[in-house]
Amino acid sequence: MHRAFCWLLAAFLALAAPSAFSANLGAADLAPLVRGLGAGSYADTEKALAGLAETGDPAVVPVIEALQAGDLHIRKADGAVVVAKRAGNGYALTDPLTGAALGEADRNAVEKIRINNALRRTISATLGALTLMSPDANTRRQAAEAVFKSRDANALDALNMALAKETDERVRRAMTQARASVLLAGDASDADKIAAVDVLKERGDQDALALLNGTANSVSNGGSDAVKDAATKAIASVEQRLALWGAAQNLWYGLSLGSVLLLAAIGLAVTFGVMGVINMAHGEMVMIGAYATFLVQEAFRQWAPGLFDFSILVALPVAFLVSGAVGVAIERSVIRWLYGRPLETLLATWGLSLALQQAVRSIFGPTNREVGAPSWMSGAFELGGLTITYGRLWIVVFAFLVFGALLVALRKTWFGLSIRAVTQNRSMANAMGIRTARVDALTFGLGSGIAGLAGVALSQIDNVSPNLGQGYIIDSFMVVVFGGVGNLWGTLVGALALGGVNKFLEPYAGAVLGKILVLIFIILFIQRRPRGLFALKGRAVEA
């Protein structure tokens, strides 16, 4: 526990050290203090340690770490304190403060600085205190979080000291919580403990709940009834709060899944909904988009690794064009002969999907391809009790952007006007001078291109393999059929509803059963409303 705690702190500090190097003292001033560590007796070492701790300089942390790990040695020749690591027969020496190499030494030329248990405790406390005092606010907060988890009573003094000096509000909160956690674990007074319970109630997450549960159930811990009462009340409040956040988390997951479904289905809504063409190769258009992303990223890795963060942005138009071009080719070569025969179209496009999968498998191999995430899409942030990854967030944003763009394109552009005209009355549109065959090809290309865009997004969260598309085709059809064919809003509502229902069922029924229930629900729903949620009315229905 002890050791782990110190290592945690040390690791945090090592990360933060370069930025935190606003040393109060130069390396030259620290050197005599370091030298004092090797003065001889344990008492001397402890005194030197205290001196080092007083400086509050992060630069001394590696020295104390080395002491803790037993790497700190005295060079017999001049009494200098060095870090010695085994190298072959002898030791490789480095300066503990600057890390500069000091050459090698024979095994007999150095002597290890010994530490005992009392000293070990002091070392941990010192390390804790040093990181809690670090000039970098993030380091301090992380140190406080580490104390919160370790509940190390030795850190209490350091914590109190740091708390007195702390000015940053967030760090202060973290330290207060850490202090509460330590107090509850130890034998503090009832008043202190009740105050600590309040602090934890304020925090209100799973960790706090675990601590409070421990407090409420502790008998051996000398827990008095007052403390237990306070803890029980706090638990109720925290649980309620957690349930609320849990619902919010489900909502977010649902939104996230819904936006993925929306991305996958929206291209289908164009080809199936607007044109009445069943495109079973739609999933393969998504897959082609994902592979286009892979190729663009490879190109960036090859020629412009520094600009890798922009590769996704470049991949978007590339994927759109590649998938769109494949779509236009399919429409011109196969589908245009099959208009008005939806079931035949279904079979032909299924055949195409098999051929496309095999083609990609032959070219790129059957294994998953590595598609990286740009830095602005990796990582996560916390919103209250929610953890939101940037990747998912961007996909949600992206799905809605694509949806909006498609809506605008269909409503406000000449191309969109032609599409709608051909959809509503083909011969009349033809008579008005719209080249229907070309509109057909471009509409199919548009639907496929959007599938390609979906591929770019899905490459970030799914395996890029020849089977990528297959996993989405059934879901996409369900969304379009559920939402109502020929209606983009229906697709939006369908995707979000199915995503949400799926994620809310998952905690109760498990992922697989949840999915089965959703499928059964759709089958039953189609019986009630055979044309989907938002059915087209009037003449268009007869299509």
Binding site: M275, G276, I278, V334, W337, L338, Y339, G340, P342, L343, E344, T345, L346, L347, A348, W350, G351, L352, S353, L354, A355, L356, Q357, Q358, A359, S362, V422, T423, Q424, N425, R426, S427, T436, D440, I474, F477, M478, V481, V512, L513, K515, I516, L519, I520, I522, I523, L524, I526, Q527, R528, P530, R531, A540, A543
Partner: protein
Amino acid sequence: MLTRFFLMGLDKKAGVLLTVLAVLAVAVPVMALGTAPDSPWHLSTHTVALLGKYLCFALLALSLDLVWGFVGILSLGHAAFFTLGGYAMGMYLMRQIGSRGVYGNADLPDFMVFLNWTELPWYWHGFDQFWFAAIMVMVVPGLLAFAFGWFAFRSRVTGVYLSIITQALTFALMLAFFRNDMGFGGNNGLTDFKEILGFDIQAASTRVGLFVATVVALAIGYILASAVVASKLGKVLIAVRDAESRVRFLGYETDRYKLFAWTLSACMAGVAGALYVPQVGIINPSEFSPASSIEAVIWVAVGGRGTLAGPVLGAVLVNFGKSYFTAALPELWLFALGGLFVLVTLFLPKGILGLAAQLRERLPARATVTAKPADQKGV
């Protein structure tokens, strides 16, 4: 009377097909059992099982053609009925293993012992009797089809929508059967069968017996289907395919006709699955996958939908091609299958059997008809 009902549907094609089946039913046993293993006429057990598998697929294709070719219902989930029939038979075969399993438990199949189950789930009871399993092979798919069709046809779900929900049905079943706690062996399905009706399932004679049973089942299925199609009921079915609303306006309750054909078809598919399992030796949830249902559709399309003999031919040809390609040129098989889908739908809308008629129609037509009917894209 009944004989006339069954015989009236048989035409010249049927005669050819039934003759071929009869020859197979005699020749294959003779070649497999009556010849020396080194004779050029000898059929290995493997080949017999392979031929039996093709004929099971042929029966599945036939059942699919009954609904697609004659009622116009494109089912993308017929493999679900096939697989359910297979599971019913597989459950019987599992119970026949008895205490010869790895764990030696006389009552529970191995996978249940492995999952620490202590007693047989209720739906496994009765499957130790062959007659019960044989009934269930038809009843389970039939009931599912009846319930599904009852709802779907009554609410007038048609065309593409129906196809998509049949696909959802088989997909949901696949996910369900993959679950261990369903009690059907999860991922691994049912396998390691030992004997059927007391005969060793690996023995050459058993294999030949199963093959003959398949031939007989296919012949019966064919005669039944052609009888149905040729009857007055069949005329109504074809009318439903061509103009459902008109038939309804004439006073026929089209839902019932469709439901009958649909349920009958599911039962036939179930029998096909039941015969398939002992010959292949395993049944697992991947048989439910939408892809296998769609593959069955292409057998029908290749042979010729609406011809009954066509699907049988199509299933055998495509599966023979599959066996050949996946062994010789595995890379090319999906290209070939995909290309087949595209070419058949584009150039052979009536399949191989319709090819001759198609050519006959087209040759003189080219001279007389100059303009094709107006653009039918109609939206």
